[in-house]
Symmetry: C2
Subunit: 145 residues, 2 copies
């Protein structure tokens, strides 16, 4: 039986931390399905993405460890779990969900999963913020010169 791993995230400005997360997630099974958060979900839970959802999905699916990338549900994060029926769900080091709660809710919906937690890539946890800060610093400098 193919062991399907599922990982999820916004994946706004792709950087090596994302790649590390997906590469490590992929190691827990035979195929990796990535759920890319919809723009409105990212807006609600985190912040407005810089890159629109269809571009984020395309770029995530282009990464070697990823077998398929799908856009998430706009209303219920468990909808995609029920559709895709993974047996493993990989959470990133900074994703707030609780392992036991996710396992409990998936089981309740008829999809028994094991949740694994992927650690951070050392020195790379603030990569998106650093890229954004660099763009802002240069932009503001150019605007004021």
């Amino acid at each position: 039986m193919v062991v399907r791993v599922m990982a999820t995230g916004v994946f706004d400005l792709l950087h090596p931390g994302h790649l590390y997360f997906l590469t490590e997630a992929r190691k827990h099974g035979d195929e990796l399905i990535v759920v890319v958060a919809r723009d409105q979900t990212a807006r609600r839970l985190k912040r407005e993405p810089y890159v629109p959802e269809h571009m984020r999905r395309t770029m995530v699916e282009a990464l070697k460890p990823v077998d398929r990338a799908v856009l998430g549900s706009t209303t219920d994060i468990y909808e995609t779990v029920v559709n895709e029926r993974p047996s493993i769900i990989a959470l990133g080091y900074n994703q707030v969900w609780n392992e036991q709660e996710v396992e409990r809710e998936c089981a309740r919906r008829g999809v028994p999963v094991r949740v694994v937690r992927i650690g951070a890539l050392p020195h790379d946890d603030l990569a998106t913020r650093r890229i954004v800060e660099k763009i802002l610093a240069r932009g503001v400098k150019e605007l004021s010169s």
Copy 2:
């Protein structure tokens, strides 16, 4: 004989236009080697990259159409051609080199190549600029609020 294709670029904030370029380049042969421009080369020819060269190289090599990504030479763009000996060089629609000049210079250095030109992905040619503008617009708004 394996037909080696070479493509080159800065690949600063990865977007579907880059992916399209690399996917199309890959179709011209059996393997694709991508030369990622050094920070100092990008600075000289285009603009300072937002993402440092080692991160740009890692992310390009993580893309499915890419077999290997290498950092370019800091002094001579033909150095990598001589080292990697491609038989095809793919140029992007907005890369300024002239096909015949590249073919002539590669031949002169003992690496006969055919240069192919890859077209633009429709509607996606300004993707990096649009991402940067969105970051700046939001950042400046936040700074002034």
